[in-house]
Amino acid sequence: MMRWLLFIPLALALALGVLFWIGLGKEDKDVLPSPLVGQPFPAFNAVALLTDEALDQSSLPAKPMLVNVWATWCPTCKAEHAFLNQLAKQGITIVGINYKDDSAKAREWLKAFGDPYAFNIVDPDGKLGLELGVYGAPETFLVDSQGIIRGKHVGDLNTRVWQTLQPQFEAMK
């Protein structure tokens, strides 16, 4: 019998493997190219979560920071929270956007799990999120001291992700 016929299943399996390989590459949305990179942080008018004071784009600190979009309804946010606490302890400035959330719940959350944020922008209807092109929580933006967006990460922050984001963050200093 023609022996090469027996290699057909192998060839098909390999072709499928290549297909999935490409698929994985496409799914790798770790650092999404955001059209907002290089753009100034959008203008906004909102209140702070804990103090209720009025905030706008000039309230952002004049140093490199992470802007973290989170909500209490988002389990992944809970998963990354401990890591944010760790980053805050290392002296990294994190500004929170409390996205489409209940403010009372959000305050309780910060009381229970610790507060890594310099302050939190309340975004109850997701308006600021929409302008930032947020797909879902959690997302984190790298913003430099001039308030220019330098990078973006979709999904939770953890040690592994931070390894790639940290050089980017250091470069903003």
């Binding site: 019998m1 022996r3 027996l6 290699f7 299943p9 192998l10 399996a13 390999l14 499928l16 493997g17 297909l19 999935f20 390989w21 490409i22 698929g23 994985l24 496409k26 799914e27 790798d28 949305k29 770790d30 209490t72 309804w73 389990p75 992944t76 809970k78 998963a79 929270h81 401990a82 606490n85 760790q86 229970a112 799990f113 610790g114 979709v154 999904g155 939770d156 953890n158 592994r160 992700v161």
Partner: protein, 662 residues
């Protein structure tokens, strides 16, 4: 247990996992070296190593369960998938509620199957046991390594642990989801045994009837779990998703159906290999396909390459690792097949009209179905990669493919179980089956006329093939028992198993046909006090209210279901909001009976206290799953056949066993 030891439980779990990894590695190497060098004492290590690996994996799984039950939120996986408010049974099922834990469950089951092989293989030659367990060890090493390296469920939240967990996805907080994934996984993983036997046989060049006989009960056992798992999944989707649908052709379901179809083909092909020494190379290929598809199902489809949620986004390493693992596993075995298969010769002949031919056609039909599903599942992916845009393949396509193939399959099944090995004649088969055939067509044609008074080809088709299958099976029983009821029990357990399984297929087809063609459904806006009619039923909206659950609050609506002014049932449907996550779930209320389900589920709240409600009457719904239960019991009987346990040299084929051909 004192407090400090208790705190260390996750570390013990991780340690146990690593010990299991080491044992699995030893299980790969030592027996194989024994086989190569012909040293029996080395081969003899295979069984204890497999047992040790299984025990340590179970310890590891128990440790994770303990962390869940005690709300140890310092473990990241527990914190993301559980919550103090979660009832304890769901804390246990949350163990396999997400990626890391389900992977641990997967490897533990692999260990358990290895243990079972070690335990029940006393009649097998030692070198075969050594080879089989060594191959299973290879699979274990790969996947335990994957677990430890990329998906460790015991990882801690350090330095600070959250006080409260994020909760289990409410979709998963349900009895169906406690039992469905483990059952399905048992099936997926169980196919590794048939795979290991096939590769062991290829390696040793001993692809004979004895090999097929050893493989058969394992394949059938895995198939039973798969059958039950798929049925449970369908049942769960039916009552939990609130749509009243029971099969959606979504990638996850397709991923479980493909290995099932191939495993079904494998069971039948193994029968030919055992009885007639034919189809050997084909059988081996099917064993490799079945396990490959189950790996594809568990790891690629479930993990989201197809459905594309952020499954791998936080960790691309996982994707690369798993793909490499699958590449080695599937590619390696197919390479071995391509090299070794030419040495396998099938001896024996058969005529075009024979049981062999019928089983070959059955195999082809099953394989074409599996291939069609694979194509439909992967097509959107290919289309997307080529930059042609996103698309979906509608359920309609799967139905147009699958329904005719199933009809053909049922027709061949009726003939196949009746026909003789080697050679048969259409004239003989026609003689014996003509009445069954005629009765099936007449009865099938009567069904739509009785059910609705209207002619419906689909119903005639579905019902006729089901009646045909039942009729042909009964004729078969009648002939084999030579018309004496007293002889029926003596026909052999496997034969009974086959009869039950085939009748089960017919029952499922009846269910699918009836429920697809005669379901009534309507979505209405209805306020308390109002009534609406659906078929011969009247739904009265009795009241609306609230229910407080342990970790949710729900809006509830109560409906009285009347038929001919007789109160049939009071149904309470709910719409739950889970406290921890704020997610909303629809809980349908279903009045179950053998011949019809009445299904009420809540849509959204509308102004003036009215609700959008989905009301359905689904005839013969239960038959779809009842058929699966029949198939499983049939499979179970076949596994229990004594001849699989008999010692090889003592095997004196009983007359009944000779006739039994399941």
């Amino acid at each position: 247990m004192n407090a400090e030891v208790a705190m260390m439980v996750p570390e013990f779990g991780q340690l146990a996992l690593i010990i299991a990894l080491v044992l699995a590695a030893m299980q790969v190497v030592i027996p194989l070296v024994g086989v190569q060098s012909g040293r029996e004492w080395l081969m003899a290590y295979a069984r204890p190593l497999a047992a040790g690996q299984a025990v340590f994996l179970m310890v590891s799984l128990l440790a994770l369960t303990y962390a869940f039950v005690t709300d140890d939120f310092s473990v990241v996986y527990v914190a993301t998938n559980s919550n103090t408010q979660l009832p304890t049974p769901y804390k246990i099922s949350a163990v396999w509620g997400a990626h890391e834990g389900s992977l641990l469950l997967w490897v533990t089951m692999l260990g358990a199957w290895g243990l079972a092989v070690a335990w029940f293989s006393r009649t097998l030659p030692l070198d075969m046991v050594a080879r089989v367990l060594s191959i299973m060890g290879m699979v274990s090493v790969g996947f335990i390594l994957f677990t430890v390296h990329t998906s460790n469920p015991f990882e801690r939240h350090l330095p600070s642990a959250p006080l409260e967990g994020a909760d289990l996805n409410p979709l998963l907080q349900d009895f169906g989801l406690i039992v469905h994934p483990p059952t399905l996984y048992m099936g997926y993983v169980g196919l590794s045994v048939a795979f290991a036997f096939a590769l062991a046989a290829l390696m040793s060049g001993r692809l004979d009837a004895a090999w097929a006989r050893w493989s058969r009960p394992w394949t059938t056992a895995a198939w039973v779990f798969l059958t039950l798992g798929i049925a449970l999944g369908s049942w769960w989707a039916y009552y939990e998703l609130g749509w009243g649908g029971w099969w959606f052709w979504d990638p996850v379901e397709n991923a479980s159906l493909m290995p099932w179809l191939v495993a079904t083909a494998l069971m039948h092909s193994l029968a030919v290999t055992e009885k007639r020494g034919l189809f050997k190379s084909w059988t081996v290929l099917l064993a490799i396909f079945a396990f490959s598809l189950s790996l594809l199902g568990t790891f690629l489809v479930r993990s989201g390459v197809l459905t594309s949620v952020h499954a791998f986004a936080s960790d691309p390493d996982r994707g690369v690792f798993i793909l490499a693992l699958l590449g080695i596993c599937v590619g390696g075995s197919l390479l071995l097949y391509a090299i070794k298969a030419p040495t396998v010769a099938s001896v024996g002949r058969y005529q075009w009209v024979s049981r062999e031919s019928a089983l070959l056609v059955n195999n082809l039909l099953l394989l074409v179905s599996a291939f069609a599903i694979l194509l439909g599942t992967l097509y959107p992916l290919v289309h997307d990669f080529m930059g042609l845009g996103k698309l979906s393949v509608g359920a309609a396509w799967f139905n147009t493919m699958f329904v005719p193939l199933s009809v053909l399959l049922a027709l061949v099944m009726g003939i196949g179980s009746m026909s003789r090995w080697k050679s048969d004649a259409f004239s003989r088969l026609g003689q014996e089956l003509k009445w069954a055939c005629l009765a099936a067509i007449l009865l099938g044609a009567a069904v739509p006329l009785l059910a609705s008074g209207e002619w419906n080809w689909q119903v005639v088709m579905g019902m006729s093939v089901s009646f045909w299958l039942i009729g042909a099976t009964l004729v078969d029983v009648w002939k084999k028992s030579r018309g004496q009821l007293a002889r029926i029990p003596k026909l052999g357990v496997s034969f009974h198993g086959m009869v039950l399984a085939h009748v089960g297929v017919a029952i499922s087809i009846i269910g699918v046909t009836m429920v697809s063609n005669y379901s009534l459904e309507k979505a209405v806006k209805i306020a308390p006090g109002e009534s609406t009619e659906l078929g011969s039923y009247r739904f009265e909206f009795a009241e609306a209210g609230h229910i407080e659950g342990p970790n949710y609050v729900s809006d509830a609506t109560r409906f009285k279901v009347w038929r001919d002014d007789k109160l049939m049932e009071v149904l309470t449907a709910e719409k739950r909001r889970y406290n921890a996550s704020g997610q909303i779930m629809t809980e349908a209320a279903i009045d179950v009976s053998l011949f019809r389900d009445v299904y009420v589920s809540m849509g959204e709240e509308l102004p003036d206290g009215a609700w959008g409600m989905r009301l359905q009457v689904k005839p013969y719904m239960r038959w779809v799953w009842l058929g699966a239960i029949f198939m499983s019991i049939g499979g179970l009987l076949a596994v229990m056949d004594k001849r699989y346990r008999a010692r090889q040299h003592k095997r004196a084929a009983a007359p009944a066993a000779k006739e039994a051909v399941a």
